[in-house]
Symmetry: C2
Subunit: 211 residues, 2 copies
């Protein structure tokens, strides 16, 4: 695998994550090799796209044969940085925060929720699966102790920016926010925002402008 000096497009990284999912399905079905064409068909893209995406990081296939499923899984996991687990904190133990805290789809992919925090004393101590909601005041001390690498924000929009500032001050460098609020982070911190109303609005647009 070369070290990618070039900047890699987000769309490429997103597709690698998709390929990984399909490869795991191929593996579960006992298929030992896969061609770029098969992978493309599962992912709704083209074989050239699959090969180009991989080519940014190295050369993983055998001409005439395709890719070894297990090897390619290992390679993509390494590219994405998934060879080791990522500890995650969730801030906001409301409806969506509670759902995320108990989501097995995170754990199974190596994202371990090490803490869930809420500012509401009525929520503190509640059990969420194996976890207990902790007081927001414990956040900094817990971060110093457990070194989570990613923060997931599930607080109301107006509470989001102060929380971002706190987790950044505490040393976190990656944030996934579900709050529909514009958030500012300093350079060097990656922020991703999932906005579900926007997703529905894109669907509304597509229905409105369908022929």
């Amino acid at each position: 695998m070369h070290s990618p000096l070039k900047h890699i497009a987000e769309s490429t990284v997103r597709r690698l994550s998709l390929y990984l999912r399909f490869l795991e399905e191929f593996e579960a079905r006992g298929q030992s090799t896969v061609s770029s064409g098969e992978l493309a068909r599962s992912g709704g893209t083209t074989s050239a796209q699959v090969r180009k995406d991989l080519s940014f990081f190295g050369s993983f296939g055998k001409r005439g044969l395709g890719y070894d499923v297990k090897d390619l899984i290992a390679s993509i996991r390494e590219i994405l940085g998934l060879e080791h687990p990522w500890p995650v904190v969730i801030i906001g133990a409301g409806k969506i925060g509670a759902a995320l805290a108990q989501y097995r789809g995170f754990t199974s992919r190596g994202f371990h929720v090490v803490g869930v925090y809420d500012s509401d004393p009525a929520k503190v101590g509640n059990a969420l699966g194996a976890l207990q909601v902790r007081a927001l005041t414990d956040l900094e001390a817990d971060i110093a102790q457990h070194h989570p690498r990613i923060a997931v924000l599930a607080v109301p929009a107006e509470a989001a920016q102060p929380i971002v500032d706190r987790v950044v001050a505490a040393g976190l460098r990656a944030i996934l926010s579900f709050a529909p609020a514009p958030l500012l982070v300093p350079a060097g911190v990656t922020l991703r925002a999932v906005n579900m109303a926007t997703e529905l609005e894109i669907l509304a647009y597509s229905l409105t402008h369908a022929e």
Copy 2:
């Protein structure tokens, strides 16, 4: 507003949704006009981008002055198709389905949840805010009666494709899926998939490859 014969990029539609949110904040603060530059600053983009995005749909501003906040809100709402409410069904009343069913951020933007469905008899009848979970067997009859336009899927991955087939057969043409499964829809149906593990994996990639 011209009828956009040209295909509009998804990134443009997504930004329009964002602009709408900021415009509503400007309106709430009593600001009556806004320039493309101000809008750009809120949205983390450039003034040229804002103007270009709008220009695909017509000409909404006044040179030297900017945009009238109320007028632009109305125009963007019309572009996105938000002048009328959109009835939505949610399928799967588990943790994430329940959170979505009670999410006020949908209702406030014109997406009305008219039904929540689950195949588990133990869940049927449960209250979710003002709604009651209904049996999956009621789905087709309810769709015929209430004509929802959008289906939100919050069922386990392996249940997702059959549900997609059912809602498509029942006439729905837009689906938002939270299930991490590759889904096929016929031409003419828009499917969007939100994959939270992928979001975290993109963050893991960015942390892994940070200098």
